[in-house]
Structures are given as structure tokens and as C-alpha cells.
């Protein structure tokens, strides 16, 4: 984590302003702890963060083993929404929780921008 704490809010703002995004988090990829969050009421941030970190680890190892390199972006799709994640090189996961009809391409772009902000 290289950015000052004030930058976290700015990074999360980039994501949550996208229509259809219900919340965003910065999560430590190593231990699944929430670093910063802007979530709608009712979303269990710490639990989601822990599972997202665990999924990210499995996915990263599988992708590296398959020879497709490190994960740059992943998107868990479900019937009523989605979880979208960009891992940063410094070990942070930039996470968005979104409605099913969200513009995935736009959220991806904002997650990548946010990842640059947090480093």
C-alpha cells in the first residue's frame, strides 16, 4: 500500500460513482482485511473481503500455473449482481459490488484507475 489514506477515498469515489455500483472496497490481498470501504448498507464488507481475497489467491495461482500470467481483472457473475476485482502490484484488491445490469467495461476502467491511485 503506497498511497496516503486520503487517496483511498478518492479511489473508491471513482468506482462508486458508476451507476449500478453498490459499493467498493480496498482489501489486503494477503490477509483479506478491509483497508477502506464505501458500501451500501447491508453489505457485509469484512466477510466479502475475506472471500474475495481467498478467491483471488486461488485464481492467481491457477492462472500462473496455466501460463496465462497474473490476474489483471476478474469478474464474478451471479444472477442478481456481480463482484468485480482488480489486484494491484502492491497487494491490494480493488473490489466493486455491482447490480446485474452494470456497465462492466466502465467499472473495469474505473477499477484500473483506482488501482493506479492506490498503487
Amino acid at each position: 500500500m503506497t498511497a496516503p489514506a486520503a487517496a483511498y477515498g478518492k479511489a473508491l469515489d471513482l468506482i462508486t460513482r458508476v451507476r449500478g455500483v453498490r459499493g467498493a472496497m480496498l482489501v489486503s490481498a494477503e490477509d483479506g482485511i478491509v483497508v477502506a470501504e464505501q458500501l451500501m448498507e447491508g453489505i457485509k464488507g469484512p466477510a466479502v473481503a475475506a472471500l474475495a481475497a481467498s478467491l483471488a489467491t486461488r485464481l492467481r495461482r491457477a492462472m500462473e500455473a496455466a501460463g496465462v500470467g497474473a490476474s489483471l481483472f476478474w469478474h464474478l457473475q451471479a444472477e442478481h449482481g456481480a463482484l468485480l476485482v482488480v489486484p494491484t502490484p502492491a497487494g491490494t484488491l480493488v473490489v466493486a459490488v455491482a447490480e446485474p445490469d452494470v456497465n462492466v467495461g466502465l467499472v473495469r476502467l474505473e477499477l484500473l484507475r483506482a488501482a493506479e491511485v492506490v498503487g
Partner: protein, 282 residues
Amino acid sequence: MADEIKTLSSQLAQDPDSLVFLRLGELLRQKGQLDTAHRVALTGLERHPHLPDAHDLYARILADKHDYERAFDEWDMALRIAPDHVGALKGLAFLYFKVGDVQQAAAHLEAAQRAAPDDPGVAQALAMARGDGPGATEAGVGASGTEALTAPEPIAPAAQPLEEARVFAGLEGAQEGLLLLDASGRVLGGALKDPSGRNVTEAVAAYLAGVSQEAARTVKLLSLGKWTGLAAEGDFGHVHLAPPTGEALLLVVRDRAVPMGRLAIIAQRAALAARRWLEAHA
């Protein structure tokens, strides 16, 4: 036409987000400048990935370039976004007719006719497909059109992505980038090789053990219903995970040249075939 192309090119240069790329791409296609049309359409599609007309345009260009497999995927995508998209329905009818599946061609044309009852081209093509109308060669079912309904011809096996046998072949072999696992990470079918040709099936399977359960727990926690897929973009390739059944996991791996959206379609089809395969082997 040349003047219009020039004008539209200028407009697009001034406003790259403009929808004039649709008209420009079509004009270039009609003029036979397929490589330029391809670039225009692809750039437009990148900026407007949810626009069915963009997928339709791209599909027409691909069909003109005889890349029928990708054209099929693009028209299929257009229909997913807009189920009544007449251009996509006509395009798919064109492709079905081309492989000799007149029944499917007619079904798509009937759907097109329901969506656009006043379209004379659809009516003509439908009459031709049913074998009860003359002159349908001018109908232009999809792409460049006129040859579409006159001479159905077999296309290469590679251009038949929906063939179940092909998906099953992938599940049995190592060449398709398909891997079917049970909940414990045991391989049920398929195999994977890394870019150097090394078999990495067991390693990948081991890392993916439990992913299905974790994905299910995550979406349950968020009250998102059932998980339907997990797509990931890597440095050198893309992967898509799908749950063909509650416990099994299907992995599809492709290089970065395959766009994520197209990979999702491939994975959905493979998952469907895998589900049938699992049921047949239960």
C-alpha cells in the same frame, strides 16, 4: 460514397465516441475495404460494447471476410443484447443457411419477420428458405448477401462452434483449453497445456479446488443468487470458470486475442455441453 466516407472519417476523428462509426464501417464494407472496415468496427465496438448494432456491423464484416465462426459469435452477442435485432437474426439465418441447416435459417427469419413484418428482404429470404418463393437471391440474408441463399455450402469444422461433438472432444483432449473438475479438484475431463506445451492439468486443478464453493459463498453473502461465471483477464490469456452443475467446475482458457465477451459465450456453450456430458456419464 467516397465523399461520405471522408466526411464520416473526419467526424469520427473529431469525436471518437460518436456512433458514426456504424455508418462509416458499413460504407467501407460495401466498398470492399474490409480491413479498414474491420478496424473501424472493432474500435467502435471497444467503445460501445453493449451496442447491438456494433456487434451486427462487426459480424457482417467478419462474414464478408469468411470468418464465419466469429461472425456467428458477434451476431449471437447482438441477439443477447437485443433479442429482436433484425440484422442479427438475418445474419444468423445466413450462416445457418450456409451450413445447410434450412430449418434453423427459417426459424431465425421467422423471428426477424415478427420483429420487422414490413421488411421485404426478410419475406423474400423466408420464402426462399421454405423453398416456395422465387427471386430470393436478392434478399441478402445477412452479410454481403446474394450468394447466401443460393448455394449452401459446408464450412470448415473450425467454423462450427456449437458442435457438441467438438466440445466433447475438447473435454477428452488437451488441445481445446477445456478442463472439467469435480468439487475436490479431481479432473473429470479435458486437459491443459501451458504455452510451452507442458501439461499443467493437475496443478491448475489443484488450485481451483474449492473455487466453486467459495464463489457460491461469496454471492450468497451478497444475496446475489447463484453464481453463473467467473471471468479473469491475465497478462497472456483469459480464463472463464463456469459451474455446469452445482458441484462441478468448467475452466476455459484462451489467449488474449479472444475477447472476454466471446470467451464467456464459448464457456457458456461448453458448460451446457459439459452438463449433458456429466448427465450422460453419471
